[in-house]
Symmetry: D3
Subunit: 338 residues, 6 copies
């Protein structure tokens, strides 16, 4: 049953101030390398699949370190190109209670990935190897060239019968003013190509510019998801509602539209250790559930639990095995595994 999953996306260096200090209070950082593609693959590798990253990294010590860590996560770097000059980075100051986390980016537009030359990836080869390929809306926001790589890859895999996964992941800051309008045609292109989509009712309302008479989120979902699925021929749409409590805990509920019905997971409430990457854990749970042939109910519960566990581990990349997730779905909480 293990499948071959490819993911196309940028690798970023995450530079985190240890503990809960601000950059202006500390003099130390912990670093790791992540990105939506890396995170999704890391999660799926731990769930038993084989993962190939499709990306581009600079030569030199930073690129070497990124490759080393991606390999450490169990992801194949065979399809990672080396070249270009820079690596995107972000600085993370961890929030606490009522004080939010802060993320500060360096200039990622000049990164090796975002400056990858035309036709540099081996689209044909990749489409032969991959059972599934994953894309993310962050990549879509970068530039025309990157979007071309993205859509070409999606088409190549789709045309060979592979599954295309698209995570909407709309980041307003990346699209700038009037971003929804700029983004719309590109999102529509990706939705046309996608089999499994991670999105929610806000994406439908604001990016796709659909209208709904409903006002509650659940009702909007029930109204909009079927329409989106139908319009773009998408078999699975899934997403989460997140509630943020002031006591370092979050609440998370997943939903999935599949086989013409909308299923919700229970709402989990749990303490948060490291929030970044948890959305990618949810997406990986949905992909794994689909590949494993779980029921819609089990998929969404598995995915939301995988998402919850990703909040309990340092770093962006999820580490839970299938056993870990299944155990955490059970009502009894284990104290110490010996």
């Amino acid at each position: 049953m293990p499948k071959v999953i490819a993911a196309f996306g940028e690798v970023m260096m995450r530079l985190q101030v240890p503990g809960y200090a601000l950059l202006s209070q500390s003099n130390a950082l912990n670093y790791s390398f992540s990105g939506t593609g890396v995170n999704v693959l890391a999660a799926l590798v731990r769930l038993g699949h084989t993962g190939y990253l499709i990306s581009r990294l600079p030569l030199g010590p930073l690129g070497d370190a990124a490759v080393a860590e991606i390999r450490k996560l169990g992801i194949s770097t065979e399809l990672v190109l080396r070249g270009g000059e820079y690596l995107g980075m972000y600085f993370l100051e961890q929030g606490f209670g009522g004080r939010p986390s802060r993320v500060t980016y360096t200039n990622r537009l000049e990164s090796s990935f975002n400056r990858a030359p035309a036709k540099c990836y081996d689209y044909e080869q990749i489409s032969k190897q991959a059972d599934v390929i994953h894309f993310c809306g962050i990549t879509l926001a970068m530039n025309e060239e990157v979007r071309w790589h993205m859509k070409t890859l999606a088409q190549a895999v789709k045309s060979r019968g592979g599954l295309v996964v698209f995570d909407a992941n709309y980041r307003p800051a990346l699209w700038g003013e009037d971003g929804h309008h700029k983004a719309k045609p590109h999102y529509e292109d990706m939705l046309e190509l996608a089999d499994i989509v991670l999105m929610n009712e806000k994406d439908a309302l604001f990016i796709l510019d659909l209208k709904s008479v409903e006002t509650k989120r659940e009702d909007q979902l029930a109204d909009l998801m079927p329409r989106v699925a139908k319009q773009f021929h998408i078999s699975v749409i899934a997403g989460t509602f997140r509630g943020i409590n002031g006591d370092n805990s979050h609440s998370l509920q997943g939903f999935i539209w599949k086989n013409q019905s909308l299923v919700f997971s229970p709402t989990l409430t749990f303490p948060v250790y490291d929030r970044i990457g948890a959305g990618d854990a949810f997406a990986s749970g949905v992909i794994h559930g689909e590949l494993a042939g779980y029921s819609a109910e089990k998929i969404v519960q598995f995915a939301v639990t995988a998402g919850m566990l990703a909040h309990t581990i340092p770093g962006d990349s999820p580490t839970a095995t299938e056993t870990d997730v299944i155990r955490a779905m059970a009502p009894v909480i284990v104290d110490i595994e010996r």
Copy 2:
């Protein structure tokens, strides 16, 4: 609108065992330099004002390090004298849940600040520069000479039309046996000079020896604060009630007596990361609110929120900007600022 704030107070070296270990379990310390004056100025500088510390630090590496950190906090050290031999220090073992934090002091009576020679500060110059000057009851407990500097400075600033702020901050251990009696005349002197006072009903009952027939804290406040304000011609009195929960969370409610009415803030309950210095954040919020012309309601909510945020950040010195505080006053909690 930004004002020039001076604060007179001792700088102490804070030596904290990292994490939650005891001194007898660890071999490492993190250090920083703080003190009520430093904390209040650091907070007010982040809120947009200019801060001058009036203090005295030894020559040599410890004094150099203290000056460097105070400058780093954005506080001017132009009025800091150098000389004398020692620096006051305290060791902090962070508590957890039902285990309280422990603070152990070294001998601060021999510190440069507490041994500052007579008439060493430039009282005239300071009074010209400062719109506001801040004092604290801890300083009042030191010795006769320090009290002389304190009162002389307060008079000089007051006589030029500057605002005098006094934070009662009564510490029983510093006054020794029968401390309330010893402290009373000095507190009365400072209250005579003060425009804005941080205190609560216990200070009125025990230091000022006022009587109240009321038994509940709110009623005692309502009874006593107007009488104190009237007796000493104080325009603003503010303070907090703190509740300590066993789950690493605290509850905090602020009050303010102003324009003949007593206003309470909502009670905030929040997880605590670093408790020391939070009272100074509240005081800074009151001062900033006064200077910014906020309503009593807004002052006390701003101040208690600033106090809450100070519990979420390592170190004694608050770091919140006005934007940070205003956002935290809103009902929606932000997750990650990107």
Copy 3:
């Protein structure tokens, strides 16, 4: 009133990944040396008694480091033999929220302690010195030779009028398949020798193979503890119920069977910092309470509070003094001790 307590048990090296990372994510470990005997003695020394460890450690740097730390805890190492080759170790990955902690052992069967030669301890001398001697069911699981040392020591102390304490501490992984049957005769031997026993209703049901018609835990306790006490002539039986909440908090309730009555402590709910060793803190509280002549009610409340405090401190070895425990039993929570 201070007594001389001996404890017989293995010293293990605890190697903990700092923070909440997994072994595959980190490159650093903190280490300390612990074990049920070490923990119980460390706790009792802090409560004012004198503690002697009876154990065996290898020559060389690891054994030296273990001896140094045990001495640091205030425990006498006079009765610790040196020889053999290895030290048992365990790796700890701290859990968070719904993710359990993981403990991974190295091969402890070859340890100096578990390979101690026949008759190597000075049973006579120990029995003269010790007012109380403590044993644990983990040791009982090791091998025939170790059990011989254990029972011989218990008999020697008992025959001189010393108190024998036995903590059932049944660990399924150590006894293997059909473990309860293998364990039963050895547990019975130790219960015959013991004056104070730490156990619960499950030990009675599964190890001692007693039957009960009751189905609720409290009722089973009330049914079984008197029968065990009577059968084995045990004067005190105590234990805890632990509830594990998903928010990094636990609930703990203690019970004690003494003077023909079963007394429960209040149920404490509290945040957990480091869970390992908390059971040993409870046991120490029971022993101290017995030695101090506390009432059954006070013993069990003292013990459960000592257990709670042990969750708030890094490392396996409790650090609370009698004052610390008594204060934590009071309803008012102290914030900062200055």
Copy 4:
């Protein structure tokens, strides 16, 4: 005698792997903020002068942290503008013995400093305040706009009678192919404006394209420095020869051309702890010596000793006081200062 020194230059974030590991081996970084201007000012402030940095930093956490550290170094940030988006960064992997250190830059062309808008600095105001202004050849390599700021500032200060210091600091990687030709006119412009120049015979040969029949470095210096000084009306030219030994030690000899004579310092050989910034310490020593009216012999010995001491301290920014340097010039080595 203390003077007011301004320096115009970029602030960079230095991200150093702790110890001697590579980026692909570690997961931690120490960071600080430096740059030629910052380093020279930090050194001169410790030598008793007042330092103003002229630069531009982004808003947000990284810019805040940079400002905080520059203030901590005792440098005034009054003339530092805030705006733009990015901060230049470099990663440092410390070499050992025969393995060289490696520096990896991020994209600095998009930095706030290098994207500073036209006429943004207050050239007039700066020229009134500064007795001395310092520039560096690294800045000269950036872009036309930055060069305009640089030359305009130099002219403004020169026209008011201030001293202009220019450190040639030619970095081949920044000028690209045929860099010497591109650089020549800009270096000539700066030399025309400069009173004190840090350069050596290679700069004269390769950038200024002067010819010399000499082949030994000392002879080339003796031939070329007078010609450069004469051509550009420079009163002081100074520089160093560095020898790199394979045992973590370096050798350093300074020279100075002043009053028509070329003076060499003794050659110092010393162990190296942190090599970056040592050239700036030498430059600061020359500036301080000039301002203090030292003889040429004393200037060059003071400067090379300041340079040596800067190799013994972590970080780019020198920390030696005048007393420190003078003591290190003495033949007796002090062990411990108590």
Copy 5:
């Protein structure tokens, strides 16, 4: 030209006290995973080849962490089996000056690798994939089963025309009393199978029990290496002389017997940062030189320089690329690579 190299050997966890403290002084460790096979492969991967480790690791967190790090080093773990219970470990206390480093092993006889069941490796498959296979005398010391795996693998690869490399690496402590006699037949078996051998004159004298009338090491080598090469049909024998100086520096000279002549490298003297694994770097240099068709002179200089560089980097596993080694062979020392 890049080749496929396999290496058969145990993976050990290295637990190092940070800095220069003893285990009894510290409470922290850094860990990594290494072993002769891992080190040789890590080095050869950095030199451009493909590396496959043949080993066996336990399931669970320690095995997962080992696999992750080996992958991070760029080595394929496809041929690594998972199973068994334990991982061999060693503790390292770094020496300084006249104080030697200390290594303390845990029980490795029970490790997954040393308890690998009969015929568990896919000898046929490995022999098809590998151009070269590497073995080490440490493995030879373990037990009969491991020796069987080792010789079977060597034969399989040899019979397919692959190169067999054997590093004598005689460790007296592993063979016990009269170890040379016990070891002799096994060393002879491996020498029969080997094409490239790492050994020196002492191995010939003491393990192979050859006699020489020479007394100086160089003369013994010249006498013995040809005889060993002839007797066992070995094409290349190489090794090093190490001199240990009291100032944290070592001296290293390499030799190689090839094409009937004995060639020595220059003697390098250099400061040592981390000595462990440097012999494996030398071996990798010899293998790479052979595969690259270098002359004997270049091979031995390349190898000894690779060995020198391995002393300058933390951890057991070499990190130098071919460019790094070639540059370090040049007489000019580079200071900072920018």
Copy 6:
């Protein structure tokens, strides 16, 4: 042969900036507890003797931590009194190359030890237990009360036939102006009581005010030591000459006057990791050599080698065993002990 050694002296907290940073550059400290008495006892315990510290420490966390560490060093704290308020402290900034280390003291005059009340130690009991008692000139500088304790203890031990050791350890800063004159009578008192003295020719010239016509240090020693020994009936006088090189290495030569002859050790030159406490290691070597009945030649070589080894280990307290020292006296340097 193992003896019981007592030492009377203050325990200080050593607070060291990690690595080579200054206090104004860092925010972290490592701490330990030391003092001449602690160091000498730690060394002698490792050499096989039993050590009792005679001192006084405050109640509370700092005193607890000091006691814990002293116990960890293997020293008995049975004779350590608890009481008083403060603990002496010193901050250490480690020097590098030509930059000296800096030590900054806090106020130690108020320490528990220096404020110990009259007659607080059990002089009688101590004199019965101790074969040897050690004192140091630093203690002699404190105040009259401490000197009284010191001389009373020396007399008590001497009168029972115990050996009295006195280390002159003259620290100018502690005696203030005209210190030699103030110190003289007290040094004479201690020399009268002492059997083994650590001092050198400068102490004889400047404290004892003896005259010598010699000008070279060796000749002065040969002239003065016999006269001091004769005048005060001292059986052994020993000391060192230290040379400080600019490359982080020191040179050390020991001498001993015994049995009417002056013997010098070879001069050792070695790299220095942590210089503080090395004099105490030398003293311990002399004491151990005397107790072990070594020849004068062996004593001084053993002592100077013990001194050398103490420079290679972090912290003030020596860690070498007799085996370690003997091995380091041999000409062959060991690389790695496995």
